[in-house]
Amino acid sequence: MGQRGTEYIVNSFKVLKDAAVPNHCGSMNNWDSFSQHLRQGTTPTEDHYLENKLYFYPSKTESIVTKSKKSTVNLSVDTNLIHELKEESKTKSQGLNAHINSILIKHVVFFRHAFAEEAVMFPQEMWASILEIIDKKTIVDIMEQKGTPTVISNFSHNNIPFTIGNIIKYCFEGIALWTGCYSSFDHYKADNGEICLIFDHKFNKKWSEILAEVFSDMVEKMVNQKSTSVIDTNTLVLRVKEPQFEQ
């Protein structure tokens, strides 16, 4: 692939990074088609993107994840409730409007699906006990077979394309974080182009190893990208390789 193609990829990732969230819902096939196109050394055109509903170009199609467009509504809310929300928003250094938006987004993107799927909540202490009792492979198998499909389903329901940017934004900064699997998440792009994902949790090294396997598998299934990991007691660093488009 020539320089133009390489620039195109770089620009695509810039668009991904900077974009509000792309609007088309697509499938793995679209990504495969896109990556195949690049592997063959040809540069996809804008038409190719549009025909295949690829994600790097914002469209006018509506999606719940588009940031900018707002609608104004008048709501009649319990006075005590508003008071509680105002107090809470102050502790987060947010305005009331932004705080309510974040609560509603969390409901729409995560909780309503969790409730529909009859999710179960329990104390972190119980999870720590389960980790002591059950072997690593069994936990990994259960999470890969029954947890990962839930994430994929959630993306599909919310019209979120399968890209590494969206996995970071909606899974690692959203769904997975909200499940309590880990307590904080950060990411950056390393000098060698790898995308480094950092997860902090309060459990143990076994949990770091489990998360490494499960998340690597999920990233590979969703965007066909390999990753390596650096594991510590309470921290996992997952290094997702830059896509290799050249033969």
Binding site: S71, V73, L75, D78, N80, K106, A114, I134, I142, K146
Partner: protein, 185 residues
């Protein structure tokens, strides 16, 4: 949050259009107004989710949860963890919101709301039987082991906090917990 919430305030909010559309559809499917839907989402956040964020909870798909539950033989360990962590969190919630610890409030806040919201069971009902005892009925999908855990877990607030006796009848998907009132016996 305190339950006496009748007074209303009108607020003007700019909400993401796509989020609003999703909420509107959800409200419509539940035959409630958009205003009612947003109120319920916000109320649930204040009454429930923000507490979970503070205390630290793990949320799993019920199939994942059931798989793990099947692999754990020591039921008492699960029960004790739930009670030690969950009981303390609930007591903190009662204290923070100035909710008196009595039978009615345990039923209202724990059985009717927290238990359903945590996904520990899918349906709850309660009634007074012909002998005057309060009976609590919980339906779930997790089998006999979970019925035994639920029965023990939900008997504890009444026994430990109020000094009442309870009697449980369980099947693989239902728990009936009878609260034996002192003055009835």
């Amino acid at each position: 949050m305190k339950s006496e919430v009748s007074k209303k305030t009108t607020v003007n909010l700019a909400i993401d259009s796509h989020v609003l559309e999703k909420l509107r559809k959800e409200a419509s499917s539940q035959n409630i107004s958009l205003n009612g839907k947003i109120n319920s989402v916000l109320l649930k956040h204040v009454d429930f989710h923000r507490w979970n964020e503070d205390f630290g909870c793990v949320i799993w798909d019920h199939r994942v949860f059931l798989s793990f539950l099947d692999l754990i033989d020591d039921e008492s360990k699960i029960l004790n963890v739930f009670w030690n962590e969950g009981g303390a969190n609930v007591m903190a919630y009662f204290n923070h919101n100035n909710i008196p610890v009595n039978k009615e409030n345990i039923i209202k806040h724990i059985c009717e709301r927290l238990g359903i919201w945590t996904g520990h069971y899918t349906f709850f009902n309660h009634y007074t039987d012909s002998e005057g005892h309060t009976c609590l009925v919980f339906d779930h999908k997790f089998g006999l082991k979970w019925s035994r855990i639920l029965a023990s877990l939900h008997s504890r607030p009444f026994e430990h906090w109020l000094g009442l006796k309870t009697v449980a009848n369980i099947t693989s998907n239902t728990v009936v917990l009878k609260i034996i009132e002192r003055d009835v016996d």
